[in-house]
């Protein structure tokens, strides 16, 4: 039995944060430098009253509309988010109700970041192939902008908010091959929001500025960029080799690589290290930024519109956890 991606849509919040606006806040930056190094020109951010569920709902409604999907066929909802509406109940349960899905539908959230879409594909494939579900609605939705301190130049430059909706079923345009997943919790402190959950329920209030003048705070998103960079270069090439071997293809057989769109500099280094031809490397971040678990489905959606989603496509997500995952998609 084979499992496929049958449809993908995405939603971006209306508010746009441009490089020009960032340079007004951080005059030492230049618009050209951000675009050249980071690869992002605009990113979308939520308003204070917009939550992950709002974005996910709109992405799902777009999917139903654009792909003419009958919502009554959905029998499982998987939502990947690290910014849920509540500690409880599960945001996927709220979405079952808001989307008007049948009550025989399973629903759960899973907490992963940039590896989340690949994990979602692996979980959805398992649900379909075990006959637990026939049509899985895989949602990714993140509002990292709410975690980022307003003076955090690096993270405000990189990250954008978004949601995606993917229908996983027994037919479709991209067969989901074998997945390769990995975890190394030693990197937990390198990308973290420390306070707010049960370990530190209240605000810690330890905000300080590092030597470069960037705010470091347990109450906001903290990313150790150099360690995440090293982790990526240490881990992803080997994971991708394993994906290729596991799916009985060779590197020459791969037509396109769609990696998590962390930032342009990171991907340039990765593709250079892996000696991947430029024409096989897919980039889609300039108008959306790093949207965490949504980068890969957004990129797949855009690659498909450009007619580039053909043949063997390797996807790979990597980041917070540390957590990583790769998969081969056989595209028609």
């Amino acid at each position: 039995m084979a499992t496929f991606i049958k449809a993908i849509s995405y939603y971006l919040p209306e508010t746009i944060l441009s490089n020009q606006a960032l340079v007004e806040d951080f005059p030492e930056w230049s618009v050209e430098k951000i675009a050249k190094k980071v690869g992002v020109v605009n990113r979308h951010v939520v308003k204070s009253d917009e939550c992950a569920s709002d974005l996910a709902e709109k992405a799902a409604l777009s999917l139903f509309d654009e792909w003419n999907v009958d919502k009554n066929c959905i029998d499982f909802v998987l939502l990947c988010t690290q910014s849920p509406d509540y500690f409880l109940p599960t945001t996927a349960c709220l979405l079952q109700r808001r989307l008007g899905l049948k009550t025989s539908c399973g629903a759960l959230d899973f907490n992963l970041g940039c590896s989340g879409f690949v994990y979602g594909l692996a979980l959805a494939k398992g649900l379909v192939e075990s006959h637990t579900a026939s049509n899985v609605l895989l949602l990714t939705a993140e509002t990292y902008s709410k975690y980022i301190h307003e003076r955090d130049k690096g993270n405000r430059t990189i990250f954008g908010d978004a949601a995606t909706a993917t229908l996983v079923s027994s037919d479709g345009f991209a067969e989901i091959g074998s997945c390769e997943l990995g975890t190394d919790g030693k990197g937990a402190e390198d990308l973290i929001v420390k306070s707010g959950a049960m370990r530190h329920p209240g605000r810690i209030g330890d905000m300080a500025y590092d030597k470069s003048g960037n705010p470091v705070s347990s109450d906001h998103l903290y990313m150790n960029g150099s360690e995440i960079f090293n982790f990526t270069l240490d881990t992803v090439p080997d994971a991708v080799d394993k994906v290729i071997a596991k799916n009985n293809v060779s590197q020459d057989d791969v037509d396109l690589y769609v990696f998590h769109q962390a930032n342009k500099y990171m991907l340039d280094c990765l593709f250079d290290l892996m000696e991947i031809d430029e024409h096989k490397a897919y980039f889609y971040m300039s108008e959306v930024g790093n949207t965490v678990s949504s980068t890969i489905p957004i990129a797949l959606s855009e690659a498909r519109k450009e007619g580039r989603l053909l043949g063997n496509v390797v996807v790979a997500g990597f980041g917070v956890g540390y957590s990583w995952g790769g998969c081969l998609l056989k595209c028609r």
């Binding site: 190094k37 150790n224 960029g225 150099s226 960079f229 240490d234």
Partner: protein, 77 residues
Amino acid sequence: MDINQFVSNFAECFDDTEAEAFSPMLKFKELEEWSSLQGLTIIAMCRKNYGIRISGAEIQEADTIQDVYELVTNKLG
């Protein structure tokens, strides 16, 4: 491993600073162009040219290009 070649490789990590400005004793974090992103470029250069993994903390501890050179040579063994 040659210090002059290392300084030349180091200089290539920077876009706006003239190559002549680079020498082993340059305190590179005092350059106007220095940023955390520049640190990633140096990490990538050390991996690509010397196969050596250095951390952001190690770059933070280094003052001069000579310090980074010695870090890499020590790791090369």
